[in-house]
């Protein structure tokens, strides 16, 4: 399996706060890498740096061997190959579900509108949302909105899907309908990097779990290793707190 994403000594700070501290990470094709850690540990920043929504201060990021942290590269080109799903869905409220999904295929990827609509409908049917195609996002439940957001990022066949705490804004009942899509995608072999607080879910999909703390990956390994048998004292402490909060 080839490396799709490679982060080498990535450093990022906001003002005086160091958020990513010479962090390195490799993501192989068809694998799911799960980032866990307390809020503020740098999970979201890491994803936003990969997507070039943030400019890194030092280090390098490679996508399929090409350095995307090179300032001369076209950010739009890079983002065409990456899908990103946000904690707060960020659907476009003035566009219907179908328009949300087809916007990028039509305008960015130059797919004919009819074809883009057909492809979107296939995805909507697959995830039981076909009847919502002409609705506006505000009429949908949180879980439905997040599923639409995932479909929207899938519609452009990304090389890597970046999922930033996609269930954090949902109530426990809706969490599962969103996570089941991710399970399906994992089954399809989609390469994913996801930040999550759902440890049970992490155990199910993760090929590798990385525990972040203060901008560093303190521990990494299989879900079995990191979540069930952590070695680092800070990982143990974090998992204990998660356990106490009833999320494990």
């Amino acid at each position: 399996m080839s490396n799709v994403l490679e982060l080498v000594n990535v450093r990022k700070s906001f003002d005086s706060e160091l958020v990513l501290n010479d962090l390195s990470l490799t993501v192989k094709e068809h694998t799911a890498t799960v980032l866990i850690g307390a809020s503020g540990s740098g999970k979201s920043t890491l994803l936003r740096c990969i997507n070039l929504l943030e400019t890194i201060d030092d280090g390098q990021i490679f996508l399929d061997g090409q350095e995307i942290s090179d300032p001369l590269i076209s950010v739009d080109e890079v983002r065409r190959k990456l899908g990103m799903v946000f904690q707060s869905f960020n659907l476009f409220p003035h566009k219907t579900v179908l328009e949300n999904i087809t916007l990028s295929p039509i305008k960015v990827h130059g797919i004919a509108p009819d074809q883009a609509r057909d492809q979107a409908m296939v995805l909507l049917k697959r995830f039981d949302l076909a009847d919502k195609a002409d609705q506006y996002p505000d009429r949908l439940s949180g879980g439905q909105q997040q599923r639409v957001a995932i479909i929207r990022s899938l519609a452009v066949n990304p090389r890597v899907l970046l999922l930033d705490e996609i269930t954090s804004a949902l109530d426990p009942v809706l969490v599962n309908e969103v996570l089941s899509i991710v399970r399906d995608l994992k089954h399809d072999g989609m390469t994913m990097v996801l930040a999550t607080h759902e440890m049970g879910f992490a155990t199910q999909v993760a090929d590798e779990v990385c525990f972040l703390e203060s901008g560093l990956i303190l521990e990494r390994g299989s879900a079995e290793q990191v979540l069930k048998n952590p070695q680092n004292a800070k990982t143990k402490d974090f998992l204990k707190r998660v356990h106490e909060a009833g999320r494990l």
Binding site: D76, N90, F92, S104, Y136, R152, S153
Partner: protein, 289 residues
């Protein structure tokens, strides 16, 4: 609507019927209070005006029905000028204001000098009184005697109004653009849309929708402010009324002109309010509130 089997069998309990009865009584009482207070206040106002010593004179000079009917066609012809001016001017204002707002919100380095110019433009034309701009353009431009430049007062008056209103409207649009949450931009950019496409397909449509009420407000003020070009000698509704009023020393034409303006502006605002309500009801689940 609920329509389960329970729904059909349901009939309101006696307690619910009592509550409905009580609610009806409360609303009947409120209706009566509103009626009495309206009659009292309006009646008092009417009495004060009618019994005031100058009322007869005011009635003859401001509310002369026969004279009003006589000047109506002339004032109406003037009003057509105001309306034309508003729509033609409105078109140019929209184009210029949108460009100014876009230039001021972009970060593109190539547009840096334009950003300075746009800021200076807005500062100047938003800060200077419209009447002064009309006078400066209306009398200043013909004085230049540049070949090809018009000295048509209607055109010059419109230009002056457009210059000023573009600055107002640009700021309204810019505030709308800045009110769109950055997460919308992040979502669009991460889908691969360029910054231009993000502005055009994601930010602007939402921004414009959000600023329609203040824009409408500006359009109504534009319609009224076109009356100021009468100072250059354009025969609009205000000028037509003025000519007639100074000829006869009867001020009814002013009242006629005011009523005509209201007949346009009030239905216009109501209509647009309804359009906005309907479109937001379609997009938002809380639209019914």
């Amino acid at each position: 609507m609920l329509n389960g089997p329970d729904q059909q069998a349901w009939s309101p309990s006696s307690r619910e019927l009592e509550r409905r009865n009580a609610r009806r009584q409360i609303s009947r009482k409120q209706f009566t209070i509103a009626g009495i207070s309206s009659v009292l206040v309006l009646g008092a106002l009417y009495t004060v005006i009618i019994t005031s010593p100058g009322w007869q004179v005011v009635k003859d000079t401001f509310f002369d029905l026969d004279y009003g009917r006589e000047v109506l066609p002339t004032v109406l012809r003037g009003l057509v000028v105001n309306i034309q001016l508003s729509f033609i001017g409105g078109f140019f204002i929209a184009v210029i204001a949108l460009s100014l707002a876009l230039v001021r919100t972009t970060k593109s380095p190539a547009l840096t000098p334009f950003r300075f110019l746009a800021t200076a433009y807005v500062d100047i034309f938003r800060g200077a009184p419209l009447l002064l701009i009309i006078l400066l353009v209306g009398f200043g431009v013909p004085a230049l005697r540049v070949a090809g430049l018009t000295s048509n007062v209607i055109v010059l008056g419109t230009v002056a109004v457009v210059l000023t209103y573009s600055a107002y409207v640009a700021e309204v649009i810019r505030s709308g653009i800045m009110s769109i949450h950055p997460s919308q931009r992040a979502a669009a950019r991460s889908l691969g849309l360029t910054s231009g496409q993000t502005m055009r397909f994601v930010v602007l449509p939402q921004a414009i929708k959000r600023v329609i009420p203040p824009l409408l407000n500006d359009f109504v003020s534009l319609l009224k402010d076109t009356g100021l070009v009468s100072i250059l000698g354009v025969t609009d509704a205000v000028r037509a009324a003025q000519i007639n009023a100074s000829r006869t020393f009867n001020y009814t034409p002013y009242v006629v002109s005011a009523i005509l303006f209201l007949l346009i502006t009030i239905p216009l605002t109501r209509y647009i309010d309804r359009v906005i309500r309907r479109s937001s009801a379609k997009q938002n689940s809380e639209g019914a509130i």
